[in-house]
């Protein structure tokens, strides 16, 4: 009961605290510091207008700096210290990482994930978006394919543990193998290919996301271009690949990069399915093996993940700035 009560109190304190802060800060600014009257009324109004945005922004900027900006610097700094955190050891942690075969495998696997998952999810998403576009029951189909988005990675892993189970009376894959007379196998333990079986889980989750966005993009294509192509005698495949896809290329790229960023951060699936064994290690789950044990090495892995994400981040910022102009 106590944490529940604590939660209610926190909501009340948080909400009233926020509203109270904004209200009081505005009041003080207008009535006490820069009152819009007296000999300097005009100047005071201007000053208040200059200060007010920062009042509105302060809580957000404070929280963002504390919870996202400080950790970037803090992690970088911590990664150059030893396990206890009391001795500066330069790049030794990184040296250890690049000498560890497990890390190199994690790096390689992550590269595989980052290539395969966004490609597969975007492709399937586009396929479903196009197929359901003019279907009478398209919305229901889309809704059902979108549904895994709501399921946690842990829940999804468990769902797929059922699918992959080695017992042909539990796992549907082995049941099918049983029907055609093959011996049962454990897909999660097949060297190298098990990576792809784990990726399938994330593709299963992310296809819905790609589908929703791409389907909206397909709807946004001007009808005239499609009509013109049909009149010119384009077949459905030409219509799709030569007319529609080029027009939604921008959206495809956004979907692709969004999924790529996600892929680089997800650790739950590997953690739940294999714990990084059988050659399926990836960077985020590799990091968790040092968490609570060796903060120096854990942060070093985190910094590596950050460096991998960096190009996407820069590209994102560029895109956002272009949009604003």
């Amino acid at each position: 009961m106590s944490p529940l009560l604590q939660g209610v109190i926190t909501i009340v304190v948080g909400v009233f605290g926020c509203v109270g802060y904004f209200y009081a800060a505005n009041l003080i600014l207008d009535k006490v510091i820069f009152p819009p009257r007296g000999p300097q009324a005009g100047r005071n109004i201007n000053r208040a207008t200059a200060v007010r945005p920062w009042l509105f922004l302060f809580p957000a900027i404070f929280a963002l700096s504390l919870y996202l900006v400080y950790p970037v610097i803090g992690s970088l700094w911590r990664s150059m210290h030893n396990r206890a955190g009391d001795e500066f050891i330069g790049l030794d942690n990184y040296g250890f990482l690049f000498g560890d075969p497990e890390f190199l495998q994690a790096l390689l696997n992550n590269a595989l994930w980052a290539l395969v998952v966004p490609a597969a999810a975007t492709f399937l998403g586009l396929l479903v978006a196009q197929l359901t576009d003019r279907l009478s029951w398209g919305n229901i189909a889309k809704s059902l394919i979108f549904m895994p988005m709501a399921i946690s990675f842990v829940g999804a892993s468990l769902i797929w543990k059922f699918v992959y189970a080695g017992d042909p009376d539990i796992g549907i894959i082995n049941a099918l193998r049983d029907v055609i007379g093959l011996d049962p196998m454990d897909p999660v333990q097949v060297p190298f290919w098990n990576n792809f079986f784990l990726m399938a889980i994330l593709v299963w989750i992310q296809t819905g996301f790609a589908m929703v966005i791409l389907s909206a993009a397909l709807r946004g294509i001007p009808e005239e271009t499609v009509e013109a192509a049909i009149i010119d005698g384009a077949n459905p495949f030409q219509l799709f690949f030569k007319i529609k896809v080029p027009q939604i290329m921008g959206t495809i790229v956004v979907v692709w990069t969004t999924i790529t960023i996600l892929v680089l951060k997800v650790f739950d699936i590997v953690y739940t399915m294999t714990g990084g064994n059988f050659g399926t290690q990836i960077l985020p789950s590799y990091m968790m093996s040092f968490m609570f044990r060796d903060d120096g090495r854990a942060t070093a892995v985190a910094v590596v993940i950050m460096i991998v994400v960096l190009p996407v981040m820069i590209w994102n910022i560029r895109q956002a700035q272009k949009e604003m102009r």
């Binding site: 939660g7 803090g74 739950d268």
Partner: protein
């Protein structure tokens, strides 16, 4: 359009069928879990979930101890009904099963089809019929314990809420019955410290403040970034877009150390703050994108009428932004409910303070690894809430995705 060209009815059929196949493929894994969570534990291991509506052949063993041995000539005869023998009577209480085969050794528990005559180890004969009646004849005096009989019985599908009750209360069926007998109420059994129900409540405790608090902070910031003019605005927006993709992993170690230093440590307060911080970039980005699109006229006429920024925000912007607020709330709810990483790091590691995801991943998968019914039920308890939110609020979710497809 559809009938102009290039759309034959054959193609239409192909599209319909392929979409149907895709939907089925997408649903099968979840349906499997859902069905399994309601099945009896023995049935799960005996037949696949796709066979759930059909009866399952399970193997049992018992002793022929329900009938008195009688003498017929120089032979001893025992007659009775297998379903009434003490070892299996409880399992067949509803009396819908039928016997398919029987045997007298554990090695070959189904050596003889029902209705035929089998040979026992002491040289006697045993006949078991489909309805359970049996006849055992032997030359020697049968002992009191009765002859050991193995049999396979087709048991009808058995759907139960047992898995859910077991996982929620952390007590087996027998333990629950005992607790009832001792006068405990259902609610008392449910509040057992080790039960998953506790983790379910914990998940709510983590999720709701983590969803509500960032919204207000972000809304004010988004308004400032959308409608107030000040130097450095563009730079701030760029920063927020950049922060959208900062990997959470970077934040774990420094923030946990910070929390420990300022005395929060691993606690609910810590995780609320962490989720608030991590959710802010998306919140600000989504809300700003939406607010920028609001009609300029309304805001300017309010300004002309003498409204302050604070009034404009609370009286005009907030009500108009409801769709964006709702879509962020759904995102943040789904994300915090489904999160494993932040909960693993920022919450204490004892069973009583774990959230659902951590309990399943760290505890149940290890200790209940082979107990599929239990695992399925636990997973479904954790999936049910977000899926419900998803289906009821899908409209807002889609709108939010389209507004800010960067995270």
């Amino acid at each position: 359009m559809e009938n102009i060209a290039g759309k034959s009815s054959g193609l239409k059929w192909a599209v319909n069928i392929s979409v149907a196949l895709l939907v089925i493929a997408w649903l099968i894994p979840t349906v499997g879990l859902f069905v399994s969570s309601f099945r009896d534990r023995d049935q799960i291991t005996a037949s696949g979930w796709w066979n759930a509506p059909f009866s399952v052949e399970l193997t049992y063993r018992t002793r022929a101890n329900d009938g008195e041995p009688m003498q017929e000539g120089d032979l001893w005869v025992v007659e009775g009904n297998i379903f009434a023998t003490s070892e299996v009577a409880e399992a067949f209480a509803n009396g819908e099963a039928s016997i398919t085969a029987f045997g007298v050794t554990g090695r070959e528990p189904t050596a003889y089809p029902a209705g035929t005559e089998g040979e026992t180890r002491d040289g006697g004969t045993l006949t078991v019929n489909a309805d359970g009646s049996y006849r055992y004849t032997t030359a020697e005096t049968p002992d009191d314990r009765g002859l050991r009989i193995y049999f396979g019985a087709a048991t009808p599908p058995d759907f139960t809420m047992d898995n859910y009750l077991t996982i929620l209360t952390a007590q087996t069926t027998e333990e629950r019955e005992e607790a009832y007998a001792e006068g405990q109420s259902f609610w008392e059994i449910l509040s057992d410290e080790n039960g998953v129900f506790r983790n379910f409540i914990n998940t709510f405790t983590v999720t709701i403040p983590s969803t509500v608090i960032p919204i207000l902070i972000a809304a004010f910031a988004a308004y400032a970034l959308a409608w107030m003019d000040f130097p450095g605005r563009g730079l701030l927006i760029a920063c927020i877009v950049g922060l959208l993709v900062v990997p959470l992993q970077l934040a774990l170690v420094p923030l946990l150390n910070l929390h420990n230093q300022i005395g929060i440590g691993q606690s609910f307060v810590g995780i609320w703050l962490a989720h608030t911080g991590f959710g802010l970039p998306l919140a600000i980005y989504l809300l700003r994108n939406y607010m920028v699109g609001l009609p300029r006229d309304i805001i300017e006429s309010a300004k002309v009428d003498g409204a302050t920024d604070f009034q404009i925000f609370t009286k005009i912007i907030l009500p108009l932004s409801f769709p964006a607020l709702a879509s962020f709330a759904i995102f943040q709810f789904l994300w915090t409910w489904n999160d494993l990483l932040v909960a693993k790091v920022f919450l204490p590691s004892d069973d009583a303070s774990k959230v659902m995801t951590v309990r399943i991943a760290d505890d149940l998968l290890g200790s209940r690894g082979g107990d599929w019914g239990i695992l399925a039920a636990a997973a479904f308890v954790s999936i049910a809430v977000p899926v419900l939110v998803f289906f009821t609020m899908q409209r807002y979710l889609v709108r939010g995705l389209l507004a800010g497809s960067v995270k």
